[in-house]
């Protein structure tokens, strides 16, 4: 069945987001204490609540995207999360990243890395949440 470019883009973005957020979730969940410590000492507001919620939010939304269940809703939630992270990254521009993303051993020295990464992922999340990739059954 032929698909429009916007649908192909949305499906690609969906799998990119799924891979990124599942990797990010596993990174955090396998080291929850370390992740909490890093957030607490980075003086992030409500650090403990963020540390308790974000890994599971990433895991749940990542699974939804990967499995194709409630895809647009999961993408919308991730878009809100990414927008908040982008605002924080810009407000604290130049500070080190939390290094809780994608199993890094060293963070890039490039100070634009965090806001750029969040902007790209935010664009993906918005794309997935707006584009309908399946035909809804008629009522």
């Amino acid at each position: 069945m032929p698909r429009s470019p916007s649908v192909i883009l949305a499906v690609t973005c969906r799998y990119v987001l799924a891979a990124v957020f599942l990797a990010a979730a596993v990174t955090k969940i396998t080291d929850l204490a370390g992740f909490t410590n890093r957030l607490v000492w980075s003086e992030l507001p409500f650090a403990r609540i963020v540390a308790a919620v974000v890994p599971w939010l990433e895991l749940t939304c990542g699974l939804c995207l990967a499995l194709g269940w409630a895809v647009r809703e999961a993408a919308a939630i991730l878009a809100v999360l990414l927008a908040a992270l982008l605002v924080y990254a810009l407000a604290h521009f130049g500070q080190s990243d939390c290094r809780c993303f994608f199993f890094p051993t060293r963070e890039p020295r490039w100070t634009w890395w965090t806001p750029t990464r969040n902007t790209i992922l935010l664009a993906c999340a918005v794309c997935v949440s707006l584009v309908r990739t399946r035909h809804s059954p008629k009522a």
């Binding site: 909490t36 308790a52 939804c64 409630a70 809703e73």
Partner: protein
């Protein structure tokens, strides 16, 4: 987009987060920080690896690495901050408010032969940070046991 799906996702997240937070709290409450020995003629606690590891799981604990910045960059205990012993006087004023938030401060150096952690702990306690103790076996012991670390040389 369906509101009911949004609510379902958020409910799943809330349940998972709540369960995870409860498990973490249970673990913390069962492993209270305690010292098995003290620096001679002082009340500065000396924590062994098991104690240090239990403390590390408590987010209100701060690990302070008093080795050089180069050593810190190469590898350090996950979540630790760098405060080289030579820079304590200079950097303590800016860090004090952060350090005061910690329930426990664990100072560590390279190994037992490194005296920096003792002098740093004394200085921090003199500055009013009475919750400071020492993990004398330090980085080498932590690293060799395969405990969580960060740094460029991992």
């Amino acid at each position: 987009m369906r509101l009911v799906n949004l609510v379902r996702i958020l409910l799943v997240v809330a349940v998972l987060s709540g369960y995870s937070a409860w498990v973490s709290w249970e673990r913390q409450s069962k492993t209270p920080p305690r010292a098995t020995e003290y620096v001679e003629s002082t009340d500065i606690p000396l924590w062994r690896r098991a104690d240090a590891e239990a403390l590390w799981h408590d987010p209100s604990t701060l690990f302070v690495d008093v080795r050089s910045s180069i050593d810190f960059e190469f590898g350090h205990i996950a979540g630790a901050i760098s405060l080289p012993e030579e820079e304590i006087e200079q950097r303590l004023p800016e860090l004090k408010s952060s350090l005061e938030q910690a329930n426990t401060i664990v100072v560590y150096c390279k190994n037992r032969d490194c005296g920096k952690s003792l002098w740093a702990a004394i200085r921090l306690r003199q500055a009013g940070l009475r919750q400071t103790g020492i993990y004398p076996q330090g980085w080498n012991d932590w690293y060799l046991d395969g405990l969580p670390t960060e740094g460029t040389g991992r």
